[in-house]
Amino acid sequence: MFRYIIRRMIFAIPVLLISSILVFVVVRTTIDPFAGLIINPRVTPEDIERLRRTFGLDKPLYIQYWKWLSLFLKGDWGKSLGNRPVFADIRTALANTAVLGILATGISLAIGVGIGVYSAIRQYSWFDHFSTSLAFLGLSIPNFWFALLLQIFFGIYLTRWLDLREPIFYTAGLSKPGSTGFHLVDRLRHLVLPMSVLAVQIIAIYSRYMRASMLEVLHSDYLRTARAKGLSERRVIVRHAMRNALIPLTTQVALDIGAIAGGLIITEAIFEYPGMGKFFVDAIGRGDYLQVLPWMMVAVTFVVAFNLIADILYAILDPRIRYA
């Protein structure tokens, strides 16, 4: 087991290295930070050339890559083109995204597992049909449209009907403009809507997933054995069926958490939530490759790391998996 983990961890290093090369080449060839300056009549081509030299962009790509990688690994991520500290900004964005993503995943997990288990136990009941229809709806609704609907409902209609001075749940941002410090209630009122948008999708996926793996377990021999031993139905379901049915979901959750670091782009863009997704879209919009490069590396590292965690979890939880 220990050797398996070490082996997988060593295997992740070349993956990250290859990703860093790909990320660098793609970002440097697609994003031209000074493209916007060409149309400016006050900027001469010589000025642009001088700027390129200052940023070391006149050197061959592999030298640029090497210089960037060594600084990146040292944790010296420098300043962005707009003179913002890159490391600190990404750290803040990551923290905000983590709060949103993990809250949404946690809540969805609780609800999704509950729905999945119950509809598997009562297969083809009205509850099963109802939750299946809802899951289809959740999977088919475009999340950005759902977000817009929530914004319209809470931001416009509900405040109008109830004659409120401000919406119950805010439709944008992280905290009330002008407020300083951290207020839990205020923060939660900002988090509820983006979280709901994420949760609707995740609940739909997890409940289907849980239902499927629960059904598989319910028909297994060891469950018949457990019942034959005379265990209570509750114990059979919770201790014997659910625990085994949760194994595939666990790996899925680990993979999903890894994707959160770079994955909440749409939700964050709509709710103007200052997380990783908004950071990325803004950086791309400005053509700030000094922000895009480390951002992508952070996102890729999280995916690779949680892939690893998913594999290891699977090997630990399911002894039937051989990890030779």
């Binding site: 290859i18 289809f136 088919s140 817009l148 416009i156 059904l215 995916v303």
Partner: protein, 327 residues
């Protein structure tokens, strides 16, 4: 251990057993086969199972109607999708403008129809090309195994590892630099490049299990070339999962295209798509909320119908894969 006799007998066996009936039918369908006067082909069995799904059939009909409406948009609607009418801006839905008009007086109903053209085209072509790429990669990996399998699957993993939308956004910037940015073709190109991995994984899985089947061994021992085994013997048997996955891929592609267009990285105005219509609508949530309702409803209904249809197809063509449909 293969003696002369067995090798001789094998071709006859493959002839007697048409490719279509391969794959083990579940107990229920076996009974149907045995009870019928003559054995039903896989296709007939699939159609029987599909007919049971009223919702899937209704969805198929709805999709056909929708597709026809978008194709005949010019005949159905008296308006043009880019025709501005500054005397009739921001009209709420009514007899003349069924879905209202936007800030430039353009008819929303017409724009939803033309937007549907883009969405359906993108959805279908992306899913099809992704199916082809994924089919080739998956069948090569599954059939040959060894280092080919390893290499192809690692590439697949790499494509899966990079956050999806990030790649698409960067990718759309990249194609823009090649000077055909913002067109429908460029969106199709980018989306297909990042949609094939799921097909590849599924096809590989099917090929891995088919590889061990007797009819493949029979074909091989009767001297069939690798390409013949892959395309004539194995691929037809893998078609069920491929078709199902391609159908569900249409839904995913439509959703992704509309999100990309919504974020401004997809098909650019003035070409209307459901996604970029919503980008525009975002500014008028207070004054013209109908601009939000209709394009979104169009996406929701289309994707829902595709998903229902795909689910019915899966039940009919690929009963073993059906999530949670175990009897």
């Amino acid at each position: 251990m293969r003696d002369e006799k067995r090798i001789e007998r094998v071709p006859a066996a493959t002839q007697a057993l048409p490719v279509d009936t391969e794959g083990s039918p579940s107990p229920g369908t076996l009974a149907t086969v045995m009870g019928a006067d003559r054995a039903l082909s896989t296709r007939q069995l699939a159609w029987r199972r599909f007919k049971r799904h009223k919702l899937a059939i209704a969805s198929l009909v709805a999709l056909l109607v929708l597709g026809l409406a978008t194709v005949l948009a010019g005949l159905i609607s008296p308006f043009n999708f880019h025709e501005q009418n500054l005397l009739e801006t921001v009209r709420s839905p009514g007899a003349k403008h069924w879905f209202g008009t936007d800030q430039l007086g353009r008819d929303t109903f017409t724009r939803v129809l033309y937007g549907g053209r883009v969405s359906l085209t993108v959805g279908l072509t992306v899913a099809l090309s992704a199916g082809v790429i994924g089919g080739v990669v998956g069948s090569l990996a599954g059939y040959y195994g060894g280092w080919i399998d390893n290499l192809l699957m690692r590439v697949t993993d790499l494509f899966l590892a990079i956050p999806f939308l990030v790649v698409l956004i960067i990718g759309s910037r990249f194609v823009e630099k090649l000077h055909f940015g913002g067109s429908v073709f460029h969106i199709v190109l980018i989306l297909s490049l990042f949609f094939w991995m799921y097909d590849a994984r599924i096809v590989r899985g099917v090929f891995l299990s088919l590889k061990e089947k007797e009819f493949v061994e029979a074909a091989r021992s009767s001297g069939a070339r690798n390409s013949r085994i892959i395309f004539y013997h194995m691929l037809p048997n893998a078609m069920g999962p491929i078709i199902v996955n391609t159908t569900l891929g249409v839904a995913a592609a439509i959703l992704t295209e509309s999100s990309l267009s919504f974020l401004g990285f997809g098909v650019q105005p003035p070409t209307p798509t459901w996604g970029n219509m919503l980008t525009n609508a975002k500014q008028f949530t207070r004054t013209a909320p109908w601009l939000v309702w209709f394009p979104g409803m169009a996406i929701l209904i289309t994707v829902l119908c595709v998903n229902f249809f795909g689910d019915g197809l899966r039940d009919a063509m690929d009963p073993h894969q059906k999530l949670g449909a175990k009897e």
